[in-house]
């Protein structure tokens, strides 16, 4: 897994609430057997018009937002299906962090396991970032994982929550499977004791 320490970048608003993983990547893109090439399906229903041409009204298609590595999403982002293709597709675009007011449980887990950082901020900060991103797309913000701090354009800071374990794995770029594999002996003892 790629490590995450600090990130300074512009940010793209896709501010709808309750964006489900079917919108992040529709099911017809799930027939792959690798993690590659999924970016083609990212927000497919919103990125393209029915005739297949890019919809200029959708922020990901607007020139001023190109190169942004932070997605500014709405409340309850990533609800619905457990498909890990959602974080893979977002990473395929180049996103390294997602800022929202809240995330659905499975999406949050999946994102953390891939080095994509979910950053939950309060509603007021979210509102402020949304205004900034629409009025001045060139503004940058900084996310620092070690201090769990977001520095907004203009210098105001706010903190975000993350569990200690996920944070350590992200900072050091450790695959969480490594921790589980180290428990092999205790797992065997448990199986023996419980008759499993």
């Amino acid at each position: 897994m790629q490590s995450f320490t600090t990130l300074t970048s512009t940010f793209i608003p896709v501010p709808f609430n309750d964006v489900d993983t079917d919108q992040i990547i529709p099911a017809e893109y799930l027939k792959v057997t690798s993690k590659d090439g999924l970016v083609e399906g990212l927000f497919q229903r919103w990125r393209y018009r029915p005739d297949g041409t890019p919809d200029p009204a959708f922020p990901l298609n607007q020139p001023e937002y190109q190169g942004a590595q932070i997605l500014l999403a709405g409340d309850n982002f990533g609800c619905g299906s457990s498909r890990e293709h959602a974080p893979w597709a977002l990473q395929g675009w180049g996103f390294k962090a997602i800022i929202s007011t809240s995330f659905a449980d499975i999406f949050r887990n999946n994102a953390l396991k891939n080095g994509l950082l979910p950053v939950a901020v309060d509603a007021e900060t979210h509102e402020q970032l949304l205004e900034m991103s629409t009025e001045s797309p060139q503004l940058q913000l900084t996310i620092d994982l070690a201090t769990q701090m977001v520095t907004l354009p203009g210098g105001r800071t706010t903190t975000f929550p993350i569990d200690h374990f996920s944070k350590t794995c992200l900072l050091e770029g450790l695959d969480q499977l490594g921790y589980l594999l180290k428990q092999a002996e205790r797992i065997a003892e448990y199986e023996q004791a419980m008759g499993k």
Partner: protein
């Protein structure tokens, strides 16, 4: 004195292998269900790391998401789907995992097949790379959906890293009226708490209205827990549960059965145990429910008009509602009853079991579906299909003008070519009405099998109670 515990706490506490400060719990998984769509990258990960599947005997695979329903031949799938299905065959053969493949008479939607085979049992921890794994909680197990990285974790170690969720008691009082079903109970809950309402929680469904449900209806209820944001949904096991499990291929037999049932009887929540959150819903006043929007929380009683965004004080909720009604091309204040329907889908892990098909067939017997409606009936498993055919249900569906198919997820997820055309309206017994879920540009009204059949007959959204 022993500490009082909820059903969830009893299962959680007996499955924690390691609990180190600063790390999530290592939770042991009793049963891991695998399907073609969310597993290939996990097997690739195992190969890259030189790992084996720790407990192939606790792992079971099937094919359901992208399988054809017009035949039982993988060759009739599109090239990518066929490749993915063949990859599952290769992976299962290489890692020694039992696979219920296309030619298996027991193959089915993973959440229909597991309970049918008796794999799903009270007190277990069950996971699958599919968010509707919550279905298995109907048996008093802790069952939840996971991502592909976690599929790899369980394959390699039979364990998962998990933070202990909070508990949420959903208490259903009263008795359902005729024409109102478990589907309406769960749609009513989600409409009440919203699709993020259960985030971070495990639901336990309690109360007399739950106790009197069949196992199939309990599965419908638990199935949609994730649509309310819940990590899982559970129902305490009782005689209804034990009767369902008894005699199934993987159920304990003989003396082991009695011993196991005695243990299962200790699982229900102790008197005096508390939950982090609670809600009470009186089912006696429920009507058939239907969704009007683009997430399962946008639902109303079928006789109610479509909500008006102008009445919504919260600006983001207002814009969500406007966006949803725009996609659905519905006008605020307009009644849902009588709205045109193009397609009716009876199937999915929510409502494709034998009792669902019986209920639907009973209502359809002697009737015809409207000329302008296409109706697909897709049984949840091959066993359900054969049982329905033995009872003559397939004839009732066919004679009414519906298509009768082989088992699979079909139009719930629209990966196999069973899909809506842009702009079409469907009444669907499935679990998700997200934009384009049932086909690009398709529009979904979620409802019960009874509402689906009544709507198919009239060609418009219809209250099934007018047929009863």
């Amino acid at each position: 004195m022993n500490q009082v515990k909820t059903l969830f706490e009893k299962i959680w506490d007996t499955h924690v292998v390691v609990d180190e400060p600063g790390s999530p719990s290592v939770l042991y998984i009793d049963l891991h269900l695998v399907h073609e769509v969310t597993s290939p990258q996990a097997f690739t990960g195992l190969r890259a790391k030189g790992l084996k599947v720790r407990r192939p005997d606790r792992t079971v695979a099937t094919m359901d998401h992208s399988t054809p329903t017009k035949s039982l031949s993988i060759d009739l799938s599109d090239m990518m789907a066929a490749n993915q299905l063949r990859q599952l065959e290769t992976n299962c053969a290489e890692f020694g995992i039992p696979l219920y493949g296309m030619d298996s008479p027991e193959r089915g939607i993973v959440h229909v097949m597991g309970p049918e085979l008796g794999l799903t049992q009270p007190g277990m921890t069950i996971v699958c790379g599919d968010s509707h794994t919550s279905t298995h909680g109907a048996f008093g197990s802790l069952a939840f959906g996971i991502g592909t990285s976690e599929v790899e974790h369980v394959l390699a170690t039979q364990c998962l890293l998990q933070t202990r969720p909070r508990t949420f008691n959903v208490h259903y009082t009263g008795q359902l009226r005729t024409g109102v079903t478990a589907k309406d109970m769960i749609l009513a809950l989600i409409a009440r708490i919203g699709i993020g309402g259960g985030t971070g929680h495990v639901f336990e469904y309690t109360g007399e209205a739950v106790r009197s449900l069949s196992m199939e209806a309990r599965m419908t209820l638990c199935n949609m827990s994730i649509e309310g944001g819940g990590r899982a949904g559970m129902i305490a096991p009782d005689d209804t549960t034990f009767e369902f499990v008894a005699g199934r291929p993987f159920a304990p037999k003989g003396a082991a059965w009695d011993k196991t049932v005695a243990h299962w009887r200790t699982l229900p929540t102790d008197e005096g145990a508390t939950y982090d959150r609670e809600i009470t819903i009186d089912v006696a006043v429920l009507e058939p429910m239907i969704t009007y929007g683009t997430n399962p929380g946008m639902g109303v009683a079928i006789s109610q008009p479509i909500p008006d965004p102008a009445q919504e004080a919260d600006t983001t909720r207002r814009s969500s509602l406007e966006k949803a009604l725009g996609y659905m091309d519905l006008r605020p204040g307009q009644p849902l009853l009588g709205h045109k329907v193009d397609v009716v889908f009876l199937g999915s892990c929510t409502n494709s079991r034998i009792t669902d098909l019986r209920q639907a067939a009973d209502l359809l017997r002697g009737r015809k579906i409207a000329d302008n409606v296409r109706m697909l009936v897709v049984p949840g498993s091959e066993q359900v299909r054969r049982q329905a055919e033995a009872e003559g249900l397939d004839r009732i569906f066919r004679e009414a003008g519906a298509e009768w198919r082989f088992a699979g997820c079909s139009m719930c997820i629209a990966m196999n070519g069973d899909e809506l055309q842009p702009g079409q309206y469907a009444v669907s017994t499935s679990n998700r009405n997200f934009e384009g879920r049932q086909g690009k540009g398709g529009r979904t009204f979620l409802a019960s099998p009874l509402t689906a059949v009544a709507s198919a007959v009239n060609g418009t959204i219809t209250d099934p109670r007018s047929f009863l």
